[in-house]
């Protein structure tokens, strides 16, 4: 093995400028792959950290020997949610909340830095007066993201705020309890679970093309070496020696690339913290996977690249002469498309029942998505080859003919370039048109709180008193709701909705909110828009997530296009040089290279985007095209980037065709 490493090192150093270019391309590809892989892993880690930071606020079930009472509610300021956790100690063993040095005393309020900041910035009658004077600042362990608005309020056990039941809207993660607890929850809440699931899905969308791309990078090294290795094989090197030499070379290059990828990721983290999900950016620390995961990624990348190199070498080892001659590649089998059809049919049969299966259904859905993803990845090259055949068959100009033939020649390489965009395009297209609909819950200046009807007049009276001096009208609406909506003859609850109209915009509404704080213990007066915040946010987050994955896919496509086109120039340098000598304009060669990427990108990437848009059309409410404009911007930048990356190898093309006497190596 030592001989293999030494020989590889010599080959790497002594391979000449072009060989070095090949190695540098591999290194760059591995660096980008590693950087993006760390992003995928880091994002999951960050969501997990958020889930941990969020878990303690959601009161669990009451226990037999409680030490504290915990309740959760959500207030709003400037339309943004403020998470309020009411805590009361039952004895001296009350657990210390995360991010705090001790359990809060009755009458104390601990605020997040962002809330403290806002309390100072806004007039006191809009926010600060809702709370007692702050006694402490919550540490980051208590916070989901740096800009989060959180208040922990200390109460006595008998305080109405710690005894009044919260509305049961726990599925939105906005309220909960009060519960008699002996420890804080550590399991992810329902809403955090949704984000974890989506993050996992996004990672699958990013990681699979990354691995394919990383593997391709490894094979690029092999491609650079194959003729020389075939020569080694011909002079009697054993298959084992050939494999060892190339694998060592690929692993050495990949190890350097992985380290470069780590640096790349480190440099990107400050930018990544600004991606807004669930109402805020990220703690930089959360985006760093722990040391074991980090070490795992850095070790796994060179190993995977090595494994991929071994697979790429199989042909050299099996047939030393095979690589020296360019033969017609075996046609792609239609079974590739059949596999995709099988997954689609299976989903059609089983998909409908998944919703009723709860969490198990979600897992099956994930499995289906992964299978569909793999099937599309499996079918992709077949489709690219088909596009290539059609392009070649219908080409009238030489550039298009060359592009079509090249797609047929190596459809996998073209697919690798466009795979990510094609796979993400549908989701991004679908989500781009989805807009938050108009608020379903009434005008934005109308605050409401629901109480038993018999208490509503008294509550309205108190509200009017509190609102003295503020331009606001108080009214009561009587509503009847069935306890069980499906049981037409079941019991009916009569509710009085105390409605406060505070015209004058956000400031007026916030003044009214502040005046009405604690009006009904355990309840917060809210507008219709407040109730939509979580849903709107989830939709916005889905779109942000899809666009992030699309951006990553475009980055993979851009790097892949750059590397593929550069390696194609190196692979075909003799033919290019000869064509150039024979008077072929450089522009024709360039156009052929461009079309080789652009045709599958437009057909598959553009096709999947448009399909997504088409499917999203029925759900587009009010045709707010802001999402579409964002998507269009990404697509234009992405396509431009891919063409730009391809154009980067134009000087390389010029340099290989400028040599008036091309010789093999």
């Amino acid at each position: 093995m030592r001989t293999a490493v030494e020989l590889s090192w010599r080959l790497l150093r002594g391979g000449g400028r072009r060989s070095m270019v090949g190695s540098l391309l591999t290194l760059a590809a591995v660096a980008v792959s590693t950087g993006l892989l760390l992003f995928a892993v880091g994002a999951n880690h960050a969501f997990l950290q958020r889930a941990h930071a969020d878990a303690w606020r959601h009161p669990g079930d009451s226990v037999a020997n409680p030490t504290a009472i915990e309740a959760l509610s959500t207030d709003y300021v400037q339309g943004e949610p403020v998470t309020i956790i009411d805590l009361a100690a039952l004895n001296g063993d009350a657990p210390v909340p995360p991010g705090m040095s001790r359990f809060p005393e009755p009458g104390e309020v601990w605020t997040s830095p962002a809330l403290a900041h806002l309390m100072k910035d806004l007039p006191a009658d809009q926010l600060a007066k809702r709370f007692p004077s702050p006694s402490g600042t919550l540490g980051r362990d208590a916070l989901v993201h740096p800009g989060e608005l959180v208040a922990v309020i200390g109460r006595t056990a008998g305080d109405p705020a710690t005894t009044a039941r919260r509305d049961v809207v726990e599925h939105l993660g906005a309220t909960g309890g009060p519960s008699r607890i002996d420890r804080f929850e550590t399991d992810a809440s329902w809403s955090a679970d949704v984000y974890l699931l989506l993050a996992g899905l996004a990672s699958v969308l990013m990681v699979v093309p990354l691995l394919v791309f990383g593997g391709a990078a490894a094979r690029l090294t092999v491609a650079r070496r194959d003729s020389r290795l075939a020569a080694l094989r011909l002079v009697g090197a054993t298959p084992g020696q050939v494999v060892a030499i190339t694998t060592a070379e690929a692993v050495l290059t990949a190890a350097a690339g992985a380290l470069a990828g780590l640096v790349l990721y480190a440099a990107s983290v400050p930018l990544l913290t600004h991606i807004t999900i669930a109402g805020g950016g990220w703690f930089a620390g959360d985006l760093w996977p722990g040391p074991p995961l980090l070490a795992g990624v850095l070790a796994a990348v060179p190993l995977l690249v090595g494994a991929s190199a071994v697979i790429g070498l199989r042909r050299v080892v099996v047939s030393p002469l095979g690589v020296a001659r360019r033969e017609t590649p075996p046609g792609m089998r239609a079974v590739r498309i059949l596999a995709l059809a099988a997954v689609v049919i299976a989903f059609g049969v089983a998909g409908g029942g998944l919703i009723d299966m709860g969490r198990a259904g979600m897992i099956v859905l994930m499995v289906f998505l992964v299978l569909a993803f793999l099937a599309i990845n499996f079918a992709g090259p077949w489709v690219v080859a088909l596009i290539g055949r059609l392009t070649a068959a219908t080409a009238r100009r030489p550039a298009r003919l060359l592009a079509g033939r090249r797609l047929v020649d190596d459809p996998r390489s073209a697919w690798r370039t466009v795979a990510g965009v094609a796979l993400t395009g549908f989701v991004a297209g679908f989500l781009a048109l989805l807009n938050a609909g108009p608020s379903s819950g009434g005008p934005p200046d109308e605050l409401r709180v629901a109480v038993p009807y018999e208490r509503s007049a008294a509550v309205a009276g108190q509200a009017e008193k509190r609102l003295a001096g503020i331009d606001a009208n108080v009214s009561v609406k009587r509503t009847e709701t069935r306890d069980d909506p499906l049981d037409a003859d079941g019991p009916v609850t009569t509710t009085g909705v105390v409605t406060v109209t505070a015209p004058g915009g956000t400031a007026a509404v916030d003044r009214a909110r502040t005046a009405l704080t604690g009006l009904v213990p355990g309840k917060v007066v809210t507008t219709g828009a407040d109730e939509d915040v979580t849903g709107d946010r989830l939709l916005a987050d889905l779109r942000t997530g899809a666009l992030t994955v699309l951006v990553v896919s475009f980055l993979i496509a851009i790097t892949s296009a750059g590397i593929t086109s550069a390696s194609a120039v190196l692979d075909r340098r003799q033919a290019y040089a000869m064509l150039r000598l024979a008077g072929t304009p450089l522009s024709v060669l360039d156009r052929a290279r461009r079309q080789e990427t652009l045709i599958p990108l437009v057909v598959m990437g553009g096709g999947s985007l448009l399909t997504g848009l088409f499917f999203g059309l029925p759900f587009a409410q009010g045709f707010g095209f802001s999402g579409l404009i964002g998507l269009a911007a990404f697509v234009v930048l992405g396509f431009g980037g891919i063409l730009g990356a391809g154009a980067l190898s134009r000087p390389l093309l010029r340099s290989v065709t400028a040599d008036p006497a091309p010789r093999p190596d």
Binding site: R325, R326, E327, T328, A395, R396, R397, P398, L401, L402, R405, R406, V408, D409, R572, Q574, A575, M578, L579, L581, A582, G583, T584, P585, V588, P660, A661, P662, P664
Partner: protein, 224 residues
């Protein structure tokens, strides 16, 4: 010799301080085959590149059918190479992705001929060059001799005035090289084109009407 189709006069080419061509004259008449012979580094390939408009000589003139071409810009020289010259190299000149017939049709398509006509014209060269049935094979599926014959077809398909061949049999065994040279000379002459062959192999030069020997950038002698 009839009126020369290609004429190089007093050609000088330097690379830094090294003199590759030092006042070389060379002419090729219609349907005439001229060999340029010489050892490695003698300047024979540089001479071919200057005559074919690939390089500009530092001094001297190159004329094609009476028109001076060495003073033309790169774009016009490229167009000239595409339409009026054909090239056959030692190897590596065929695009591996294209089937043989499309490799041959490519120069015509580059000059604006429709694909259908270009492929039709290309196909007509396969029979005379003994390539029948190989139209849809890719270069990797052809033998060395077959690939060179495809390259000859490609050089001749635009009906060039001059075909330049740089060591056209260098990668072939003697027997295949012999057949390839015969086909190259016959097909070129049949087409009415001049042939300029650069070689260090006397048996290749023997196929030509005249041999110009180059040594240290100068013409040594002319043999019939």
């Amino acid at each position: 010799m009839t009126e020369p189709v290609l004429l190089g006069r007093g050609l000088v080419k330097r690379f830094g301080t090294a003199v590759a061509l030092d006042g070389v004259d060379l002419a090729a008449g219609r349907a005439e085959a001229v060999a340029i012979m010489g050892p490695s580094g003698s300047g024979k390939s540089t001479l071919l590149h200057c005559l074919a408009g690939i390089m500009k000589p530092d001094a001297g003139e190159v004329h094609l059918l009476g028109q001076r071409i060495d003073t033309l810009g790169e774009r016009r020289r490229s167009a000239l190479r595409r339409g009026r010259f054909g090239f056959v190299f030692q190897f590596g000149q065929l695009l591996p992705e294209l089937p043989a017939v499309e490799n041959v049709a490519l120069p015509l398509m580059l000059s604006g001929t429709s694909r259908r006509e270009a492929v039709q014209a290309a196909g007509s060269w396969f029979g005379p060059l003994g390539l029948d049935g190989l139209e849809h094979r890719r270069p990797g599926e052809l033998s060395g001799g077959q690939a060179q014959r495809v390259a000859i077809a490609r050089a001749l398909v635009p009906r060039p005035a001059v075909v330049f061949a740089d060591e056209p049999t260098g990668a072939l065994d003697q027997s295949t090289g012999h057949d390839t040279m015969r086909l190259l000379v016959e097909a070129t002459k049949h087409n009415g084109a001049s042939l300029v062959v650069v070689t260090h192999d006397p048996s290749v030069a023997a196929w030509c009407d005249r041999v110009t020997e180059v040594r240290d950038g100068r013409v040594l002698q002319r043999a019939a």
